[in-house]
């Protein structure tokens, strides 16, 4: 890349200039491929989740007092080009028949499904013995936080949760 053949007044010779231009064009072409490639690879993974909607769980009158009861709702999930129906489940608890709370049945430790142990009045996650009380607070075991809650509302006697 020496400028020996160029005249002494120009610091960059023909050879050096053409070498620089070659590298510059190569760099531009690489960017032209690289930026779309990164968007292509990471775009779908980083796209925001689908919107949440109010999902009907069942009649409010079917919820027994003081006992968390499992209700299921069907949600539409789109993954790539595949649309599938998936069931999500929530424990609904009421102490007076008017105020309801809905808890996710997914353990906050590593995602196992919790079950309600009626005679102990506790939720048990079977994977690593995570134990939650009736309101979803951690009693013992590895879970870092209480069970997640869904926003709940009651319309025309139907319980609805906000999820997706």
């Amino acid at each position: 890349m020496s400028a020996s053949s160029a005249s002494s007044t120009t610091p960059v010779g023909r050879r050096g200039f053409l070498g620089f231009v070659t590298w510059a064009i190569g760099g531009l072409v690489s960017l032209g491929f690289g930026i779309p490639a990164l968007a292509y690879l990471f775009g779908p993974a980083l796209r925001s989740q689908q919107e949440e909607t109010w999902l009907p769980l069942g009649a409010a009158s079917k919820v027994p007092l003081n006992t968390p009861t499992l209700f299921k709702a069907t949600v539409k999930r789109q993954a790539g080009w595949i649309v599938s129906e998936e069931q999500i489940a929530a424990f609904v608890l009421t102490e007076d028949g008017r105020e309801f709370i809905a808890m996710s049945n997914i353990c906050t430790h590593l995602g196992c499904r919790v079950r309600w142990i009626a005679d102990k009045e506790q939720f048990l996650s079977p994977c690593h013995n995570g134990i939650f009380d009736k309101l979803g607070n951690v009693v013992s075991g590895p879970p870092p936080r209480p069970l997640d809650r869904y926003p709940v509302k009651v319309e025309n006697g139907q319980i609805l949760i906000l999820g997706g």
């Binding site: 779309p36 292509y40 690879l41 779908p44 790539g80 595949i82």
Partner: protein, 219 residues
């Protein structure tokens, strides 16, 4: 720092000599037709890069192939660009390879000592056509399906062994999931392996033997 690292590496790898013999070698005074080989190589690299990217989302089964291609084209960011580059690049490959071969024929550049370069080039042309033929089926739309139906049947009219060839290509009597899967396997594994091997020999010989000058009147 960079210079010291380059020197350290050169002492152990000898990369400067490799670099010089590839990029700083002496070439005769030639014309723009002599860039057709490099152009073909550039498009081949384009096909490799965009082809690898397409396999990230493409699924070669009858119930997913068409939908996954539509997903790439309409949903994935820059998916239309990646697919478009691969689609048009495929046509460009065939055109450029043929023009490159034509230049070599017309200049008599296949003669001693470059016969093996020519022979590997012929092999590369066959591989490029194979890429085109197998890749055409992968979008699994009507055009793909019927083009491959016709294409495999053309192979089937060869005397005596035609029927065997047709069955081997289709993986059975009919065009099916088996056909799609084996065309995909050929397109992304078998043909690229052959391409990289032959291309390596082809390029090595171009560097080793140098390129031929434009023939003169008295040649």
């Amino acid at each position: 720092m960079t210079a010291r690292l380059a020197g350290w590496l050169d002492e152990r790898l000898g990369w400067r000599r490799v670099w010089e013999s590839i990029f700083l070698r002496k070439v005769p005074k030639v014309n723009w037709l002599y860039t057709l080989g490099s152009a073909t190589l550039f498009v081949a690299i384009n096909q490799i890069v965009t082809g690898i990217l397409l396999t990230i989302y493409y699924v070669p089964t009858p119930d997913h192939a068409y939908d996954s291609v539509q997903y790439i084209t309409t949903q994935v960011p820059a998916g239309w660009l990646i697919r478009g580059l691969h689609h048009w690049g495929a046509s460009a490959m065939v055109v450029l390879t043929a023009l490159h071969m034509l230049r070599v024929i017309l200049h008599g550049a296949y003669k001693y000592p470059r016969e093996v370069t020519w022979l590997t080039g012929v092999g590369l042309l066959v591989l490029v056509l194979g890429f085109g033929f197998t890749g055409y089926l992968l979008p699994w739309d009507q055009k793909a399906y019927w083009a491959t139906t016709v294409g495999t049947r053309i192979a089937g009219v060869a005397p005596v062994i035609g029927d065997v060839i047709l069955r081997i290509m289709r993986g059975g009597e009919e065009l099916s999931a088996v056909t799609l899967a084996r065309f995909f396997g050929a397109h992304v594994w078998i043909l690229p392996a052959g391409l990289l091997g032959l291309l390596g020999i082809h390029m090595f010989l171009v560097v080793r033997n140098g390129i031929s000058a434009v023939p003169r009147r008295e040649d």
